[in-house]
């Protein structure tokens, strides 16, 4: 019975409080949506407050490494376009831009891009890791792929040309869980139609900024078991 939660949700909406999660039943959705429609129909309620605007500006300035003490939303004066990457984050931003290279904003549907970049070889290296078994050797023949979920990380391990490779199973764009398309031998992101190779390279995306390739995991085969180096499940 979710009637009470629906009432609470609507009440929060009316009082301007943060809404709280609950598992909405199918029958509640229309009511919730109607509440939102009615609430947003009132005059003038949709403009952002000054306090919020300047607060977020400060957060962004801190986040983006802008060294200037800014409290107000003031026009940038004499700024260069390089101001996107400045202050403490220059190195990180430069690396990120290098990683996306010329594929940035290649947002035409079906843009076919590859990231031939040293960053493709990023390997997941936990501070506290251990070799953890993800499959039996016999279960992963040459050309095979297996998904694994260790709690702390999910991923896919595959054997190709006699070599083992393991990659993270989380999309580097916004963290959606990748799905294995075994027939096509690729990993699909359900969120934005991004496609990665089993080796982690980006094969295709439709995003304005090309996501990074998938981090790899160190992988080994001992005593008939395939193991990856991963953090404990916690």
């Amino acid at each position: 019975m979710t009637a009470r939660e629906v009432r609470r949700f609507v009440d929060d909406l009316l009082r301007g409080r943060r809404t709280k999660p609950f598992h909405a039943a199918e029958a509640d959705l229309a009511e919730l949506r109607t509440a939102i429609t009615l609430r947003t129909a009132r005059v003038g309620g949709d403009a952002p407050g000054e306090e919020f605007l300047s607060g977020l500006h400060r957060r962004l300035a801190a986040e983006l490494g802008d060294p200037r003490p800014t409290g107000n939303v003031t026009p940038a004066t004499g700024g260069t376009r390089r101001r996107f990457i400045q202050g403490a984050s220059v190195a990180a931003a430069a690396a990120a831009i290098g990683a996306v290279g010329e594929h940035v904003l290649a947002d035409s549907p079906g843009a076919d891009t590859r990231t031939d970049n040293p960053q493709a070889d990023v390997t997941l290296s936990p501070t506290l890791g251990a070799w953890r078994t993800v499959a039996a050797s016999d279960d992963l023949l040459d050309g095979g792929v297996r998904a694994f979920d260790l709690g702390s990380v999910t991923g896919f391990v595959h054997r190709g040309n006699g070599r083992l490779r393991a990659v993270s199973g989380t999309c580097t764009h916004q963290g959606c869980r990748l799905q294995l398309d075994a027939a096509a031998r690729r990993l699909d992101c359900p969120c934005h139609d991004t496609v990665f190779a089993l080796t982690g390279e980006l094969l295709r995306h439709q995003l304005p900024v090309a996501p990074r390739p998938l981090p790899r995991l160190a992988v080994r085969e001992v005593h008939g078991a395939i193991q990856v180096y991963a953090p404990p499940a916690g």
């Binding site: 957060r59 904003l105 916004q174």
Partner: protein, 203 residues
């Protein structure tokens, strides 16, 4: 008591003065607009030019100031970092919109397990003009118009005029308990009226 809904834009009828609403947002002075095809001067220019639009968009989708603020912050925090230096204004706006779409979807999945509102693919991104124009006033008006008088009035008072239950009860001449029941029933009826042909994007 006002019968018509408030509408701020388009030269349509001026809104009746809300009975209880003290939370009418401030008029925000918008930053300089940048002509499409140009590039932004830096992240601050991106922020100034887009924050108002993204916030309004989120507000229309979640109906709540604090939630809209949280989501707007999430969009900018996620989007500004990886933005390329020389991306054009149009590209940046499209990227922010794509980010907003994902952020909203994630929010609903976390909150209700189901996306009850979405940002459509064909969402207009007019260059250098007003932010999103919501059709909520028209939809709300259509729904309210189809309700019995008491139902219409309680929803008008509570949702559009931001009256408390107490204030709304006094206005309608009923007890607070009655006003609450009236509101729940009215909302349920309004939902049935307004939801013909709509679908939910549930996993």
């Amino acid at each position: 008591m006002a019968g018509s809904l408030g509408r701020a834009r388009d030269g349509r009828p001026a809104p009746a003065k809300p009975v209880c609403d003290e939370d009418v947002g401030p008029n925000v002075v918008r930053g300089l607009r940048v002509v499409s095809g140009e590039v932004y001067d830096g992240w601050e220019a991106v922020y100034r030019d887009n924050v108002d639009r993204i916030y309004r968009l989120m507000f229309v989708k979640v109906g709540n100031r604090v939630d809209a603020e949280d989501l707007t912050a999430e969009v900018f925090l996620a989007a500004l970092g990886p933005l390329r230096v020389s991306a054009s204004v149009g590209e940046v706006r499209a990227y922010l919109l794509a980010t907003a779409r994902t952020v909203l979807a994630g929010y609903w999945r976390r909150t209700l397990g189901c996306q009850i509102t979405t940002i459509d693919d064909d969402y207009p991104q007019p260059a250098g003009v007003e932010g999103p124009v919501s059709d909520a006033p028209q939809r709300a008006e259509a729904v309210l118009a189809g309700l019995p008088e008491q139902y219409r009035r309680i929803l008008q008072l509570r949702f559009l005029d931001s009256c408390s239950v107490k204030q709304a009860a006094a206005e309608l001449g009923v007890s607070v308990a009655n006003a609450k029941v009236l509101q729940y029933r009215a909302l349920r009826r309004a939902a049935r009226l307004g939801e013909e042909g709509s679908t939910d994007d549930c996993a």
